[in-house]
């Protein structure tokens, strides 16, 4: 009989980056790399586990911007162009490495991986891999939780409560449209919680969310079971706390598994290493070297000296690390269950992009872990939060402390010298959006015939939520690609301000608006402005259970 539970939580998110106005856009590669290296490998792992009859549970968040990009026909066709290029490059690599036995096998491996990725993407899931995750959820192996409209960092946006409400409600309604049912759980972006946000979640029909460990430990009153059981906020929404020990084992760059010497080195990519003329067709057309995803070296050690990657060794290590992770959870549960009068639950949340993209062997590790948990032990059982509530619907009431899972545990990563200037504009725009919604509330509820005002209002709301994405402040702090983050922030604020001015002046430039709608087409089928109406006026949103038809966009040819 098992003594406790483990909830493995993968948070998938990418900022909305879609530039139809450019043929190639550097930052769109974030999505393509994540599809090839993380999402498709995860889908392959889950598919294989199901076909082998392994009973597993994973909880996953898929944020609205990511879902929107994955379902966008333009980006889908561009991904096919991208993967076709990679297949071509890997063919060349097989030839080039013909006399280098260390590398030839790796070239073959990458070639096979790219072909499989293409097959999974195009043939198996017909370009819409969100359907794959939906299928896993409908089959009961995966629980997908909702998230904010554009990953807005709520402790700071919450200064205008209407902004936080819109972020949450758009996220919840987008989830309903995508998965055909309301979300039970919710991922607060960056685990950013402040007391009161749970009231908004409750009104949106959410039952639980996640906070970092200190959000629970510093809760008031002090929770009896620490982070090993959820607590209910006074609103009745539950908060689960992250388990620090299991997080560190995987996350930490020093002690964590991904830093092992046998694993693949992320920073040595042939896109940066090979001769320019050879690699030129496969990097950015402007000649900017980028990561191709083909990497031949293993981590080896802390110096610059690297040795060739050996897949068998890495596989062996992944199995070993999965076993070690499981062993540690068993010991942890045994220890905890001795002190607790109920079964403890360990919450282990990770960024999904860690698995596969940064840590190449990550999906393999998950595969091993799921299998070992199912067959090799009886102490710990995998569970999703919703299942946990079936067993323990009664929990302690306490107010979690405001917190985030960012550096230092609060808001500092998103609020410091390099990025604090954005909030002046975000808050001002948020207030102006509420003002617009009030002023034109009749227009939102009963649009006039040509609907141009309604379109402008909705687009204003889209520009606002795009600017609110926490990713821009995050990038400004981390220091790579900063100009792009600056540009996006300014661009969306300016587009918003222009619509605001046009609406208040009563003169909307239809051509311009059309172009903006085409470029920033996130939530194109949602009435975004209605989320800024005062509560009583909000138009009841219908739950659309049938899956939405993506808009037709030109598709790129595949060879």
């Amino acid at each position: 009989m098992h003594k406790g539970y483990l909830c493995l939580l993968l948070h998938t998110h990418l900022p909305f980056v879609r530039h139809p106005e450019e043929e190639y856009f550097l930052e769109e590669n974030w999505l393509y790399e994540a599809i090839t290296e993380t999402y498709i490998p995860l889908i392959q792992v889950f598919d294989k586990l199901i076909s082998d009859g392994v009973d597993f549970r994973v909880t996953m968040s898929l944020t609205p911007p990511l879902v929107s990009m994955l379902r966008d026909p333009l980006l889908q066709s561009r991904y096919i162009r991208h993967i076709d290029k990679l297949i071509e490059l890997s063919e060349k690599e097989m030839e080039r490495t013909g006399y280098q036995p260390h590398f030839h096998g790796l070239a073959l491996m990458y070639h096979r991986k790219f072909l499989e990725a293409r097959e999974t993407f195009v043939d198996k899931y017909k370009k819409d891999i969100v359907l794959a995750f939906k299928k896993f959820q409908d089959n009961g192996y995966l629980e997908i939780i909702g998230s904010c409209a554009t990953h807005g960092f709520l402790p700071i946006l919450g200064v205008n409560s209407q902004d936080a409400k819109a972020q949450i409600n758009i996220g919840v309604d987008h989830y309903k449209k995508t998965f055909g049912r309301p979300p039970r759980g919710f991922w607060l972006p960056e685990c950013g919680y402040y007391p009161g946000v749970d009231e908004i979640l409750r009104d949106a029909g959410v039952r639980y969310f996640f906070v970092d460990s200190h959000g629970i430990i510093n809760a008031d009153p002090s929770p009896k079971y620490s982070v090993y059981a959820p607590i209910y906020c006074p609103s009745g929404v539950a908060a689960f706390g992250r388990d620090w020990e299991s997080s560190k084992q995987v996350w930490s760059s020093r002690e964590g598994y991904p830093g092992d010497a046998d694993y693949r080195e992320y920073y040595r990519d042939i896109g940066h290493e090979l001769e320019f003329n050879y690699i030129k067709p496969y990097i950015h057309p402007e000649g900017i070297r980028i990561n191709t995803g083909i990497k031949y070296w293993r981590i080896t050690g802390k110096t610059e000296y690297k040795e060739a990657y050996i897949p068998d060794w890495a596989r062996e290590k992944a199995a070993m690390h999965a076993g070690n992770f499981m062993f540690n959870r068993e010991k942890q549960i045994e220890h905890l269950s001795y002190h607790m009068d109920r079964k403890p639950i360990i919450i282990s949340p990770y960024d999904a992009e860690l698995f596969g993209h940064w840590w190449f062997e990550g999906p393999m590790w998950i595969d091993f872990l799921m299998r070992k948990m199912a067959y090799d032990q009886k102490t710990v059982k995998l569970i999703t939060p919703s299942e946990y509530f079936c067993e323990y619907p009664t929990n302690q009431v306490a107010v979690p402390s405001a917190s985030s899972w960012g550096w230092k545990g609060y808001s500092e990563f998103w609020l410091e010298g390099g990025n604090d200037w954005v909030y002046r504009h975000l808050h001002a725009a948020g207030k102006k959006m509420t003002e617009l919604a009030q002023k034109f509330s009749d227009e939102i509820k009963r649009p006039s015939k040509n609907k141009i005002k309604l379109r402008a209002l909705n687009q204003a709301a889209r520009e606002l939520v795009l600017a609110q994405s926490s990713d821009w402040a995050f990038i400004m702090k981390t220091g790579t690609m900063v100009p792009y983050a600056h540009r996006r922030m300014k661009l969306h604020i300016n587009r918003f301000m222009r619509i605001y001015n046009d609406l208040t002046n009563g003169a909307i430039d239809n051509d311009w608006l059309k172009e903006v709608e085409r470029r920033d087409n996130i939530f194109y089928n949602m009435n975004c402005a209605s989320y800024y109406l005062p509560n009583s006026q909000k138009k009841p949103t219908r739950v659309v259970s049938k899956t939405i038809e993506p808009r037709k966009e030109p598709s790129y040819a595949s060879k």
Binding site: P20, E21, E22, E23, Y24, L26, I156, V159, P195, G196, E199, R207, N218, D220, P221, S222, Y232, P234, S235, G236, E286, I288, F389, P393, T394, N395, V397, V399, S401, A402, S403, Y410, S411, E412, L415, G417, D420, R424, H425, A428, P483, H486, R487, K490, L491, I493, N494, R495, M497, R498, D511, W512, E515, R551, K552, E553, P554, S555, Y556, A557
Partner: protein
Amino acid sequence: MAKSVLDKVNGKKYVETKDKKISPTVNLSKDTLPQKSFKENSFKAPDRIEPKKEEKPQKPFIDNYDLPANYNTTSLTLIARDPQWIYAYWEISPASIEALKNQIGYEADRAVYALRMYDVTCVDFNGHNAHRTFDIDVGPHANTWYINLWADNASYCAEVGLRLPDGRFFPIVRSNFATTPRARPSERSEQIWMEAKPAPGQAPFVIGEIHKTHSDRLSAEKIAQQKKAEEAKHRKQRKIFLTEDDVRAYYSRLSPLLKDIIAERLATKSQDRKKFGIDRVSVYLKDGRIRLDDILIRGISKDKFLRRLLAGASEELVELGGASESISSGGAASEQNLPEYRRRKFFFEIGTELIVYGRTEPDAEVMLGDKKVTLRSDGTFTLRFALPDGKIPLDFVATSNDRIDKREISTAVERSKTKYNP
């Protein structure tokens, strides 16, 4: 794209690419065309779809990258950054500052700009009842400030205004309320449990013990009382059901932030009350001779509450139970066990901060250790540090834009060990 990508590589700022004109041909890419034309093409799966050129020339699409310098409002916003720091930003429109100066009259020239911070933890702030206030002289040109606070889990409100040499303060605008997060585990440990089901359902409940004590005379008859209480505990332990609103009202007093939200909710939810079993509470308590509403919802005086907040006592229910009967929760820290200084209200704290400023050529690069110092447009810079006990080395290196001239200035600041004499 060409330009923007290269800019990224060169690390230039995007401000320079403002009003970038995108040629009409770029604008005419595939997706702008009427939808019909794709349908025909999509069957052929062609390599390139040649866009049909539209007849009328399209207007170039221009994005503006200049942010509004101001919104012509007068506002002040506080954001809690972490348990110890609050970030404030403000904008004062020229009209409102003029109006204020006219109101002050001839003395206005001698006034200084100040940010006045009010500690309003658990207070219904009316402008005069803050626990304490302090001023930061911000000067006429600043519009942001990071404010170091003394304690975590505190609520603040601020005003920007002018202060005259005689101490009179004329506020221009008042901020929102910001509450800093709690930085350590709560000292309260009472347990309230709730059962949540998908359907709106069962009321939350307290596992409480009802025992007869005179809490006012606790010290006098301590031993006898406690013995009695022990017996009563076993005899009268029972589950008390609360309504959802009770729980909200109870928690609302812990955080002013929650209070507003909950007050709003209570106002809108009065018709829901029946649904959540309020009858159950009153029926259950009839034989208990006290009304739970008295315990949970009755307002408590500021003094009592502040002391409880400082002491972290969880004996709220005991105190509120009144003279005849009281409910206490299991495992609560009683006030007698707390150190003397925590039980009394008086407190005294000091802190130190360090401001370093300097100037150089506006296009030079200044490094403090391995960190780059951001220069203002006139080449001046100001750094503000917390100054804990110990030594802080300050090694500045300035390099001219053409990398020829280099100056180093090294100094250090030391704060000797703070002594606390109780």
